[in-house]
Structure formats: C-alpha cells, structure tokens
C-alpha cells in the first residue's frame, strides 16, 4: 500500500516536471541562443547547450543599441502608472467598500464594464485626443492610459480586500477622534498592504508588457519602451537572433522578478476575477 502510494506520487511529480520542461522549451531555447557566439547561432544541427558560453550578445545589446534608454522609459512608464493607479484605487475601493449611496452598484458596474472593455476600440479617439493635446510621444499619455487600464481592476481587487476588514476598526478610529480620511490613512491603508502589493504587481506586469499603445502613441526612438524597441530591433531582411534573444531576456527579467517575489498575492488576485 505504502509503496503503491509512493509510486503514484513519483509518477505525478515526474509527469508535472516533464510537462513544465516541455512548456519551457521556448524560454530555454531563447536563453541558449542568447549565450551562443555569432557563428554558432545558425549551426545545423543546432547546439542545445552553447559551447563556448559567451555573454557577448548581452554586452553588445547593452552597449550598441539604446536598450538602457528603453529600459529607463519602460520603468518610468510602468512605475508611474502603478503609482497613479494604486493611489487612486486605494481610496476609491475604500469608498465603495464602506459607504452606501444611491447608484453605488451602478457606478461600480460601469467601472467593471470599462475594465473588461479592452482599449483597442478606444484607441482611435484617444489617439486623436492625444495629438490635439500635444501628448503624443510623452510619458504622460502612456502613464494615463495604463492607469486607466489598471484602476478598475485594482479598485475591484481592493474593494474585496477592504470589505474583509471588520468595520469595528473604522468605528474605533472615529471614536478616537479621527476623521474618515484619517481612519483611511492611519488605520485601513496599512492593513491594505498585501492587497496593494498584489494589485501593484499585476498593474506593473500589464504596463511593462503592453505593446500596442506604446507603439501607437510614441514615434521617436527616444521615447520607445522596451517592448517597442524589441519589435523594431529586427532588421528588415536579416534577424540577429542571438542579440534579439538576449534583448528579450533582458526585457523579461523585471516582470519575472516581481512575479516570483509576489506570486502568491498575484495568483490570489488573478483568480478573484473568475472564482467566487
């Protein structure tokens, strides 16, 4: 009985591991390509493990093309939109969670609707508005649009979070002489940190990875984000796969770091959208 159980456990583990390995082949291949020397990238049959290993592709990507500038642009835009969307959705979530007022659920429904309605169909009007307001090719327009993407989702996530905190906390704060705003800032906000970090990671990954808005609303090389830079890095006739894969790995690392540090909260946030 015991050995049978051990065997089935072993089988489950090996199937899962095999599956993960197959699923990660493209990632492994990208890494392997990025670590090859120029002449070995196109080898046939291909080398699975690069020999010799070289960091030349990473070095040349960082030195020769403006990837550092792209990185900086992406960071500014992503962190900016995280800051804007978290600071607004925190008190909005508090408002929705703690107060009753006419039309509350209708307004909340409108927010959810705008969360689900993807940006694609709105792109035309936003583009016209941005060009009228001279906001094309600026950080501001990207931060605003990404904040618009993220605020409804963060508010939704945080509303549930605030609702799970007992209202006695608020009452106690008010008895101690705090205003509503004081209660929010001093009592509730510190307790919201786990929810805020989950919402923050999701917002960061969404903004960091976004491509269509970034490529449509910027047109000079100086303003390109990393995703857009990657896209334009391919030449018209010849693709330098070694350097391209090195650049794509660099573009993935920040999102990956946040993901692994905060994956529990992130998964809780993701599943909230589908499971009640």
């Amino acid at each position: 009985m015991k050995t049978k159980k051990a065997i089935s456990k072993f089988l489950i583990h090996s199937i899962i591991l095999l599956w993960i390995m197959i699923a990660l082949v493209p990632v492994f291949w990208a890494l392997s390509t990025a670590l090859k020397t120029q002449e070995h990238v196109m080898d046939y049959p291909p080398q699975l493990i690069p020999r010799p290993v070289t960091f030349e592709n990473f070095r040349s990507v960082i030195v020769d093309i403006p990837i550092v500038r792209y990185l900086k642009n992406s960071l500014i835009v992503a962190l900016g939109s995280v800051a804007v969307s978290l600071s607004i959705s925190a008190f909005t979530a508090y408002g929705f969670a703690r107060f009753n007022f006419p039309g509350k659920e209708v307004l909340f429904f409108l927010m959810m609707l705008s969360m689900m309605l993807p940006g694609l169909t709105n792109l035309i009007v936003l583009y016209i508005a941005a060009s009228k307001l001279k906001l094309l090719d600026t950080y501001t327009i990207l931060v605003i649009i990404y904040a618009g993407y993220n605020i409804p989702f963060s508010t939704w996530l945080l509303r549930g979070f605030v609702e799970s905190l007992p209202t006695e906390l608020d009452d106690a704060g008010m008895i101690d002489g705090c205003t509503r705003w004081g209660v929010f800032i001093h009592v509730i906000l510190p307790l919201m940190v786990p929810g805020l970090s989950a919402a923050g990671v999701i917002a960061f990954i969404v903004s960091w990875n976004e491509f269509i808005v970034a490529t449509t609303f910027t047109n000079t090389d100086a303003m390109r984000t990393l995703q857009v830079g990657l896209r334009f890095f391919q030449g018209a006739y010849y693709i330098d796969w070694g350097r391209l894969m090195a650049a794509s790995i660099i573009a993935t690392i920040p999102a990956l770091l946040f993901f692994f540090i905060l994956q529990r909260g992130l998964i809780a946030g993701l599943t909230k959208g589908a499971v009640k």
Binding site: N100, L110, L120, N209, S248
Partner: protein, 306 residues
C-alpha cells in the same frame, strides 16, 4: 436689491443641491476614479460612434460627414468578413485546447503533493512574458531554416515545414503562441475553482460508492462549470482584441490568412490612417465586446450559488 437677489440665487441652489445630494461626501471618494473611467473609456466609446459617420483622416483638414458610407463600405469589404471568420476560427481552435490542457494540469496540481506552489509558479511563467517576447520566441523556434522545431522534425525523418509561408501553418503557429501563453493562466483559474469545492462533497460521493471517474463527471465538472464559462469569455475577449501577437509574428500574412478582425481594424486605422473607416469596424468589435462583457459580469456577480 440686485445683490440680495443674486445672493439668494446663489444660496438656494447650494442648499438645494445639498438637500437632494446628501451623499456628496461619499461621492467625493469615488469621483477621481470615475472621472478617469469616463474620460478614458466611456466618452471615447461614444465619440467613436460619431467618428464612424465621418470621412475622417488624421491629416486632412476637412472631415466631411458621410452618413452610413463607412458602414456600407464595410459590409461590402471582404476584409471584414475574412477577419470575423478568422477570429471565430481562431477561437474554435484555441479554446478547447486551452481548457483541456489547463484542466489536466489543474487536476494534477490539485493533488496533495509537495512543491505545489513552486510548480504552479513555473507553469505560470509563460504568462508573465510579454506578447512581443512570446511572438519572438516562437518565431525563432519555428524558424523555417534554422528553427528548433524543423530540426526536430528532420531528426524524426519528417520534412521541414514552411511555418510562416503557408497560410494554414501560420494560422496554427499563431494559435500555438496563444495556447502556450494562456493554458497556464487557465490552469491557475481552474485550479482555484477546484480548490473551492468542499472536500466533504467528494468524500460523501465516495462513501456513496461513486468511483473517481463518476465523481469527476457528476460533481467536479458541474461545480467548475461557471469557472470554465468565465474562461471562455476571457479567451474570447482576448481573441477579439488581439493585435500585438499578430503584429509581431505574421503582420496578418501571408496574404490575409492571419488578419483577424482586430488586426484588420488596427491596420485600417493606424497603418492606412483611415480613422473614420476604422471607427466603423471598431463599432462591430465594440458590440461583440459589450455582449461578452455583460455575460461575464453577470457570471461573476451571480454565480454565488453553484
């Protein structure tokens, strides 16, 4: 005299507003977020309708009203019908595969085993990659000359496949990219659905003599059905609005074989700069989106009782 009247006028409205608007403080909390939602989502949606009735090109000074011309042109344009057909085909291709793979992975991870959290994180990794990175990675392993996939095929004695120059194969590779990225996402969602099923129910069924298979069909599956429906809607929404992956992988080609309706709209608007026409196509997409979204919100707000 005049002054007192104007003062009165000013006073009364404020009092009046406060009296019918006793909740203004509460509204103040949610006002900034609502303002952003209105400015970035609701007003643009409405304004798109107006643009779709004009011959609107960004560079032209005049943007004449043309009535239904854009819509009439659109209905006669084979690009629209091709795009809609491809989007539907794409959905029919990816949804069953994603749900099937996601479900099997979730069943494995729902066992009581060690390293479950680590496995789940590793599975979810492709979801963290951006669409651009996904597209580039898959373009490289499916490369027709030196790609890994063709090498493996040759190794097994199969001829190299023209992955990006054949219309069917390009469409399939585009599907594989989305499956690769979204099957793990489906797994996480289904797993959460499975974990929300109380163990007692399944234990009770086992006590009543139900086998593993039987309890799966008659208990597990019905209980996660709402989750599967939600997933189908999320997948449909992302397919009907997918531009980035096409942009990076095929640019709609070869020919028009991967020009889904979303890409067709983007191309008319931002490559050919025909904003009026693109707005008309956007209205079609918009209606599809609204229907899907209303279903979605219904599902997640009323699925309290399974």
């Amino acid at each position: 005299m005049d002054e007192t009247i104007s003062r009165e006028r000013r006073k009364i409205p404020i009092k009046y507003w406060v009296s019918i608007f006793p909740h203004w403080r509460e509204y103040l909390w949610i006002a900034p977020a609502l303002l952003i939602v209105f400015l970035l989502s609701i007003i643009p949606s409405l304004y798109t309708i107006s643009i779709s009735f004009h011959n609107w090109s960004l560079l032209a000074a005049k943007k004449p009203f043309v009535g239904l011309d854009n819509y009439i042109y659109m209905i006669r344009d084979s690009g629209l019908w091709n795009g809609l057909r491809l989007s539907m085909l794409y959905l029919v291709m990816i949804v069953p595969v994603i749900l099937f793979l996601g479900f099997i992975m979730a069943l494995f991870l729902n066992q009581k085993i060690r390293f479950r959290g680590t496995y789940r994180a590793l599975f979810l990794l492709p979801w963290v990659l951006s669409m651009v990175v996904v597209g580039l990675n898959l373009r490289w392993i499916f490369d027709e000359q030196t790609g890994l996939i063709n090498y493996l095929l040759n190794f097994l004695g199969i001829k190299s496949m023209p992955w990006f120059s054949s219309s069917y194969l390009a469409f399939i590779v585009l599907g594989i990219a989305q499956i690769w990225r979204l099957a793990p996402f489906a797994m996480v969602i289904i797993l959460a659905g499975l974990q929300s099923i109380p163990e007692e129910i399944i234990d009770a069924a086992k006590v009543d003599g139900a086998g593993n298979w039987q309890s799966f069909w008659s208990i597990t599956l019905p209980l996660v059905k709402p989750v599967l429906l939600v997933l189908i809607i999320i997948l449909s929404l992302s397919t009907f609005n997918m531009v980035d992956l096409i942009f990076v992988m095929t640019a709609g080609g070869p020919g028009t074989s991967t020009k889904l309706v979303s890409y067709f709209m983007y191309e008319q608007g931002f490559i050919f700069l025909k904003f009026g026409y693109a707005a008309a196509i956007a209205m079609v997409l918009f209606i599809v989106n609204i229907i899907l979204t209303v279903f979605y919100i219904r599902l997640i707000t009323t699925s309290n009782q399974p």
